[in-house]
Symmetry: C2
Subunit: 340 residues, 2 copies
Amino acid sequence: MADADRIGLVRLRDVARALGVSVSTVSRALSQPHLVSQETLERVNAMATRMRYRPNLAARDLRTRSTRSLLVAVPSFSPLFLEIFRGAELEAAAHGYGVLMAHTGSDATREHMFLDQVLSQRADGLVLVTTMDPARLADRRKSFPAMVTALDSGGVAGVPCRQIDNAAGAAAAVAHLVALGHRRIAHIGGPPEQSLARARARGFADAVAAAGLVAAHCPCLAGEFSLASGEALMTRLLTRYPRPTAVFAANDEMAVGAMQAIKRDGLRIGQDISVIGFDDLRIGLLYDPPLTTMGFDKVQLGRLAIAALIAGLNGRAAVADASLPVTLEVRATTGPPAGE
Amino acid sequence: MADADRIGLVRLRDVARALGVSVSTVSRALSQPHLVSQETLERVNAMATRMRYRPNLAARDLRTRSTRSLLVAVPSFSPLFLEIFRGAELEAAAHGYGVLMAHTGSDATREHMFLDQVLSQRADGLVLVTTMDPARLADRRKSFPAMVTALDSGGVAGVPCRQIDNAAGAAAAVAHLVALGHRRIAHIGGPPEQSLARARARGFADAVAAAGLVAAHCPCLAGEFSLASGEALMTRLLTRYPRPTAVFAANDEMAVGAMQAIKRDGLRIGQDISVIGFDDLRIGLLYDPPLTTMGFDKVQLGRLAIAALIAGLNGRAAVADASLPVTLEVRATTGPPAGE
DNA sequence: ATGAAAGCGCTAACAT
DNA sequence: ATGTTAGCGCTTTCAT
């Protein structure tokens, strides 16, 4: 038992020696139990437990060329991405895979870093949750099939993507405002270099046109997907004359920022100005007043992405892209425009 | 170049062959450049890039018995833990380590899972961010020095801990309320099985006693660290007579829940009832009215934990436990009690 | 059902 | 400065 006391140094051969059997027998008992006799199985298990044997995963991974673990890279630790990750974790566990999370900061260099983790066999595959067009990964793709993107509306030929229809969701948000009677609707958008932001802005523009609204009365501003940016953009909007009667923010975070600005001006949200967001995060639900927003099943998106990844890993044909529905969640921040 | 085209199969020897040199030369050029000639270095680098060589990390890890990566296990994806993780990431990067995040759900089984990841050499060390007393890990500790706990006020002999003084912070929160003139202060606490919750409750009780308040007027309720629980507990508190004039919630999440209940009752927060939280999360800052709370440097806590872990990995004596200060952030939810 | 032996891709003595 | 060789701990033929 002297071996067992040495830190982290209990190897298969230590267990084998203690039992007077060969390493392969121990290996089999531990990972292919049906290949050994009942008696051997029990003896090995008992001894392995007693000696606190832990397999050296580096060795196993090297030998089997697989790690049974997947990487999920998210742009940031925003609740939106965290929900997607939760789904990924659930689905992976159901297939016997572990998942680790990393964040990219939407930085191409870091995205490559994680891609390299897979190429370097630290993980079997990668789900890249992204709001940017990952076209820059295209050249890598050829030598690297084990990737799926999620959430982004862009896409690279050959890389499966699990997404939502951002443009349609945005259009539905605007349609809701139009139905309430709004004619002057502004858009507070995300960074145009992000395909997700572009898709939502496009949906906005399309719906404005479809409703026959005057484009000049429906400004489309671009900022960042942050609370501060939403607040800044709204502040600017409030100086316009005539003021918009409703605002569609590209995500809930910006919507909350916008509402902060509106409150500061002493205006009533949902009466003087309607606000609608996108993503359906808890922060919007808790806000006073609770935010009307466009929601979708984030957990399911994570599940689908992992399912597609594992399917690919198992050699099943990469399924075509799939899109999840986006639904309107009416709460307290949207109402008919104030009479003028 | 045929080799290079095969997916993920460019090995050191492929590069070596293409160059007509030995594998060790390529290995050295890539990881100990000063050991090869300038010319060789350039040729190797060029060829490695051209062939898209990626080291097989499983092989390297096996050989070097180190992964240069650390695991940070958090109880959940609460913003509090995410901030700590950010700090961990920063500090790790500064030492050339990567960090991966996993979440335990405060589940001992899962904590062991991640511990096993380290014992199995998938990572070099583990930071266990926890709100529970990790005493149950004690027996493992002997064979496993590469661990540091963070945030928990409990602790296991021999496992370094980087924490905050929860009891002192809680006492300071109560002292703030007492200074404002409150005499009937309630505590909405977390689960007593979590040492963190116990510490904060203890600080509350101590401060109440120190201020000479009537204990019967200062109820101490226990629930979960969730918004819903804070709301439920506050609802119960509001039926008491005489009603408490102030509430100290064990974290911001519960404080927000409590405020939802107070609002529902039509009472004015900060006037009819004061509320103070703990953790200083953004949700409290954004709430209307902004929450008074006890804050601390979460990023720094993460940094300290990783620094201690790496110090231990390098064989430097595990430093004694260290505690970070907790400071009062006065905002709008605390004020003098309404005249009675 | 079990054992012997090869080898995954890499690094690090050791030799030249 | 470079090459040769051994071996990290495991799984998996191939024998028996």
